[in-house]
């Protein structure tokens, strides 16, 4: 099986090289995307086989680091993420067959795209530090190139720059982490790392470094700043891959190290992780609430979901450190499930945004509106996506968040008071994030798809082609299916969870009516299938009843609007106005949002202006000061470029005399 996965990855890379050889233009774009969708089947099949009970497999190739070789391994954890990559990759590829036709620079997208999927696949398969990091960084590099597809825009270039610098930063952290794990003798194979024992301090240092490394790729605050710039800058199918899949590869890296490689960890690191995840979630979604660009909003929401996943992982670590394997399994299941779900709905939403972009050429919310009439299928699919991402039953987003809340509710069993206090607080933050997510996506959908068209482009939008719709439909039905029968997914995740926490959820498929019973029936149950059925029955019954017993008459008329209808679409609630209440309530501190109103006195014909300014505190305090520091130091050092030969000679002499003195003193 591991051969199958590796071969598929290799064929994806070859496909890229082939695309380069063929010039990578629009001519072959459909073919390349089609083949890459096919190639995604390989890893998917391999992953399913492993989860189906095939034992883990290893493969050693004579490439990579000379005296180690490239180790590949396919175990249950890899399999979970392999399936995730395969689904996301295949959907994006199918979508791209259609989307790629509208691409202005196909030669900058097509050659990199298959290899990007291939690199992600190999990251998940890698079983030694060197192969892992090579694939990891190649993945960054290829996505960087994809982000730069529309390189003429300065903001794209700066986004890509920031992205790759942050990626390099993360890689350096991972490099250090693996340096610690492998030790001075260079035991880079994961099998060797796993068996070595290390003191707590080293383990914690490794975890911190991996958190930085994987977190910077996943978008964990405060290392997230690149994400809302880079993800939207890429072509939409690439955005879908980056947000939906690549962040999951980062999550995989963290899980692999924290749960598998590093060994036992002390409990006191988990509260930090938990709070980091929870605050990332709130920060991300709050920014999403304020974003005016549809894809940027989605990118910020990715940050939120990553925060949720990391919080769940932190919780799992807390349980595991205390030997509570069952709750640890529950929290880890929640994390993996949420990772899967986020892949489905975030890819779907980015594809929806891409469809809108194709149809209208715009992604600013205030230029859209009314698309539900013009693009009915896209609108329905996007509605599924926003419902799922807002964690509303009976779709899949809720199922995973419900599991997470269930595991939070098990926190009283933890022996440490600190954890007992922190976990509910984090739970509150996560609830806040979930509620804000609903608000943010009501805003996205309400402003972007509902209401009246705000621009000619939106008014003349046409439904997109079949390939794109097929891909979106596939993801949309996954959202629904995983929401209605989560038991199926949970049982599939069980081997991976078992591998990492030495425990698993009870078999869910065996429960009557496919009910989810994570702990015990008396404690908590959720049956999405029945909930869905009840809602469907109740809604249709009530509709029938209404039409049967009530009036069936229907008349179209102008909107009433409390008696003040205004024909101009500009009077609708826009993106900024929708965000205003939350901006005032939560944004004034966290985002330092401030409003200035310039109201001209009566008689003055100039228009009144209302201006909102927001500050990204993390960006300004952390990143800009680092950048300023580097510029300052380099400016100061730059003086050394313009000295005279005499001064340079003095430097030589100075070092000579200094060293001689040192030698003299050394005696």
């Amino acid at each position: 099986m591991v051969e199958l996965a590796a071969l598929s990855a290799l064929s994806l890379v070859m496909l890229s090289l082939g695309a380069v050889a063929w010039g990578g233009g629009a001519r072959i774009s459909g073919l390349v995307y089609g083949l890459s969708a096919l190639a995604c089947l390989g890893p998917g099949a391999a992953g399913i086989a492993i989860l189906g009970g095939v034992p883990p497999q290893m493969l050693t190739l004579p490439v990579g680091l000379p005296w180690i070789g490239a180790h590949l391994r396919l175990d249950a954890l890899s399999a979970v993420f392999l399936i995730l990559i395969a689904i996301g990759g295949a959907a994006a590829s199918v979508y791209a067959i259609g989307y790629g036709r509208h691409e202005s620079a196909p030669e900058r997208v097509v050659p990199f795209f298959p290899a990007f999927i291939g690199a992600m696949t190999l990251v998940v398969l890698a079983d030694d530090a060197f192969s892992f990091l090579v694939c990891w960084e190649v993945m960054s590099l290829l996505s960087w190139a994809l982000v730069l597809a529309h390189h003429r825009a300065p903001e794209v270039r700066s986004a890509a720059y920031l992205y790759l610098v942050m990626a390099a930063f993360g890689t350096m952290a991972l490099l250090l982490a693996f340096g610690l794990l492998a030790g001075g003798n260079g035991a880079y194979a994961f099998s060797a790392i796993r068996t070595a024992s290390r003191p707590d301090s080293v383990a914690v240092a490794v975890l911190a470094l991996v958190l930085v490394g994987a977190g910077s790729k996943a978008g964990l605050a405060p290392l997230h700043v690149w994400l809302p710039q880079a993800h939207p800058a890429a072509p939409s199918h690439v955005s879908a891959l980056m947000s939906g899949v690549m962040t999951k590869v980062a999550v995989y890296a963290f899980i692999r190290v924290a749960f598998d490689l590093v060994g036992p960890l002390p409990w006191w690191i988990s509260p930090a992780l938990l709070m980091l995840g929870a605050s990332t979630a709130v920060l991300g979604i709050l920014n999403a609430m304020m974003a005016d660009d549809m894809k940027r909003l989605l990118a910020y929401s990715t940050i939120e979901n990553i925060g949720v996943i990391f919080a769940a992982l932190g919780l799992a670590l807390a349980f595991r450190a205390n030997g509570m394997t069952a709750p640890a399994a529950l929290a880890l299941t929640a994390a993996l499930f949420h990772a899967f779900n986020h892949m489905t709905f975030k890819s779907l939403l980015f594809m929806g945004a891409g469809a809108v972009l194709t149809a209208t050429g715009r992604r600013d919310l205030d230029g859209l509106g009314g698309l539900i009439h013009r693009m009915p299928v896209t609108s329905v699919l996007t509605l599924i996506g926003v419902t799922a991402i807002s964690a509303l039953p009976p779709l899949n987003g809720f199922a995973s968040e419900w599991l997470l809340f269930q595991s939070i509710l098990l926190s009283p069993g933890l022996p440490q008071l600190g954890l007992q206090i922190i976990v509910p607080a984090a739970g509150g933050l996560l609830a806040l994030a979930a509620a804000l997510a609903a608000a943010a996506f009501v805003r996205l959908y309400g402003v972007g798809f509902l209401g009246r068209s705000r621009s000619d482009a939106a008014r003349d939008a046409r439904e997109v082609d079949r390939c794109m719709l097929v891909a979106m439909t596939g993801l949309g039905s996954l959202c629904v299916l995983a929401g209605i029968v989560p038991a199926f997914v949970l049982d599939a995740l069980a081997p991976a969870v078992d591998q990492l926490t030495a425990n698993r959820l009870p078999q869910q498929m065996a429960e009557p009516w496919l009910t989810l019973i994570p702990v015990a029936e008396a404690r908590s149950t959720y049956n999405p299938l029945l909930v869905f059925a009840f809602i469907a029955i109740a809604a249709s019954a009530s509709a029938l009843a209404m039409h049967r017993f009530g009036s069936r008459a229907l008349r179209r008329g102008p909107a009433w609007d409390c008696g003040f209808p205004e024909p101009s679409p500009a009077t609708q609630y826009g993106a900024a106005s929708f965000a205003q209440p939350i901006r005032r309530v939560l944004g004034s501190q966290i985002l330092r949002a401030s409003e200035t109103v310039d109201m001209p006195p009566p008689g003055d014909p100039r228009p009144a202006r209302h201006r909102v300014t927001m500050h990204d505190v993390i960006w300004e305090r952390l990143y800009l000061s680092v950048a300023r520091g580097v510029v300052y130091v380099s400016a100061r050092l730059n003086g050394l470029q313009f000295l005279t030969i005499r001064v340079y000679l003095s430097l030589v002499m100075g070092s000579l005399v200094g060293l001689l003195l040192a030698v003299a003193l050394w005696h």
Binding site: A391, A431, Y445, R452, R523, M546, A553
Partner: protein, 305 residues
């Protein structure tokens, strides 16, 4: 299930009646909401030109979600047939779904009032939901479950006794309930054409049978919260699963009494206080949030002592 639907408008009527009496009006009869709904059902529905299918589907969805949620709350007896379908968290989320679609419907026509209502509703919800969940946490901590039937059974046991945390949770839950049901001081259900309205602004464009569905759903939601509070904090009289018909009947009577009490209390409260500014609401709900968190923390402290 049908019972709650039947009962819900009555509670609304009761609250209105109490309020009218307290302001020295005679007020409409308690059954007036039933008549309103029946009339609305018979009327033709006027749709704005711009309304999409979502706008038409929403009332039924909202009603269905609320109804399912309401049906999951034990009213006069625990261990209802399908109460294992979802727990308290799922109930909260179902109400969230209803609100989500209602807000979308508010945005659908493309009017300024609809958006105004939707955005404020979501803002209030974004503070109310965490408060609700924290309350759920502290309740679940005491009861060891989020399954409402179990919770009610545990609460009915004498050893639970009186706890500060539960008191806090109660206050928090009441605040959330007021906010969620658009009652004074958060929102005024009796007003239109006011820049401070929230819920009514969202449903401004609805008419006829659609409006009827939304009105029923709103009433259901109020009843749901009342039942919830009753079943958790005042489980007295609730029949157990295995109880006989007598106990059931007694439970039903007790339940009716509890609902009536709650209705009267709500009416009194609404008359007594004034509506607050929209941007004060988060402070109000923030208090609930704090109470919920404090309740949870106190539980830990008292347990670990």
């Amino acid at each position: 299930m049908l019972l709650v639907v039947a009962l819900a408008p009555g509670l609304i009527g009761l609250v209105r009646k109490v309020k009218a009496r307290l302001t020295r009006r005679r007020g409409a009869p308690i059954l007036q909401p039933y008549r309103d709904i029946a009339r609305l059902m018979r009327k033709e529905a006027v749709l704005a030109e711009n309304a999409s299918w979502l706008f038409r589907a929403t009332p039924y969805l909202v009603f269905a979600a609320t109804w399912v949620a309401a049906a999951l709350v034990p009213t006069f007896a625990t261990g209802l047939q399908f109460s294992w379908t979802a727990d308290l968290i799922a109930i909260v989320a179902l109400l969230g779904s209803a609100r989500f679609f209602l807000a979308l419907a508010g945005m659908d026509i493309g009017t300024s009032f609809g958006g105004l209502g939707a955005s404020r509703e979501m803002m209030i919800a974004s503070v109310a939901e965490p408060a609700m969940l924290l309350t759920v946490f502290s309740i679940a901590l005491v009861a060891g479950s989020t399954q409402l039937s179990t919770v009610a059974q545990v609460m009915a046991m004498p050893e639970v006794g009186l706890r500060v945390s539960l008191g806090m949770a109660l206050v928090a839950l009441v605040i959330v309930a007021i906010a969620e049901n658009a009652r004074i001081p958060v929102d005024n259900p009796a007003t239109h054409l006011e820049l401070t309205m929230v819920h009514e602004a969202m449903v401004l464009e609805y008419s006829g049978r659609h409006l009827a569905m939304i009105e029923i759903a709103a009433a259901l939601k109020l009843l749901l919260y009342v039942s919830l509070i009753a079943c958790i904090f005042w489980p007295w009289g609730t029949a157990r699963e295995e109880a006989g018909v007598g106990a059931m009947a007694f439970g039903a009577l007790a339940y009716l009494a509890k609902v009536a009490t709650a209705g009267v209390a709500l009416g009194v409260l609404e008359t007594a206080i004034a509506k607050m500014r929209v941007f004060r609401v988060p402070d109000f709900l923030g208090a609930a949030l704090m109470l919920g968190l404090l309740g949870t923390l106190l539980l830990f402290v008292s347990r670990s002592l």
